[in-house]
Symmetry: C2
Subunit: 152 residues, 2 copies
């Protein structure tokens, strides 16, 4: 690879996001963190990821401020990995991915996990709106580029 091309200087926020969490495992780790997993072994068993890769991913997720490693809750000597605010704000990304996958990647009737409101039990969805509340589709959206057009 000769060093995977960095997108961190890109002026497109999507590109920078992908630079931060777009690698193969990071979002899956975040998903499991949303699911309440906190310990190294929990992630490892859940994802079936190699331990060296997991260690590295957890390290960079912590470096980037998406997770924090807190010493230990109950006197235990191990580390726990918790989502930061920055990490928790990836929630819409997770929901968007989930919604798309539900729609296109499952056979009709094939079982899959579902996301619901814990209070009411109602299904959760997400949609794109203007700031005054009008729903919007992709073709109506317009990208305003930044003056210096290095890349969108």
């Amino acid at each position: 690879m000769v060093a995977r091309k960095s997108l961190s200087g890109n002026y497109c926020p999507s590109a920078r996001s992908l630079d931060a969490i777009g690698d193969w495992w990071s979002l899956l780790i975040v998903r499991d963190a949303f699911d309440g997993l906190t310990r190294f072994g929990e992630f490892q068993r859940s994802l079936g990821i190699a331990k060296n890769i997991l260690a590295q991913r957890l390290r960079t997720l912590v470096e980037r401020g998406i997770l924090t490693s807190v010493p230990a809750p109950n006197g235990g000597a191990h580390q726990e990995y918790h989502l930061t605010d920055m990490g928790r704000d990836l929630f819409p990304v997770m929901v968007a991915l989930r919604q798309w996958g539900e729609r296109y990647l499952f056979e009709p009737g094939e079982p899959h996990s579902k996301l619901v409101d814990g209070d009411t039990g109602r299904p959760i969805r997400l949609d794109v709106r203007t700031d005054d509340g009008n729903a919007i589709t992709a073709d109506k959206a317009l990208i305003l580029k930044v003056p210096v057009p290095d890349e969108d």
Copy 2:
């Protein structure tokens, strides 16, 4: 790598989505497609991606039904790559990534591209709601696992 672990059998829709589009370049190509790019060379210049990798990614995106390659519009002999409905429905994912990146990956005042409603010029955002319209935060959400708990 001994074959990158496939997640396509996973019962978590997010995992399947990441299996389909979670690699390094696919979502960036989709982003450019949203931006109106259609031709091989356009993607190549925009992304700075190696041509062999781009060719391969376009191929698999077409295989997976996210793009289609249409012969040529104006008599020209080249191919054009267009988003399918499946691809267009990745729009919320793009918006979610963009929104997160805007918030956490840019210095205050640093310029970046913006997404607006083409009709009204109003900024676009997205939020997670129950199907009856109540906004919801990550901590209120609950994942209902599928009976056979191979993985969430």
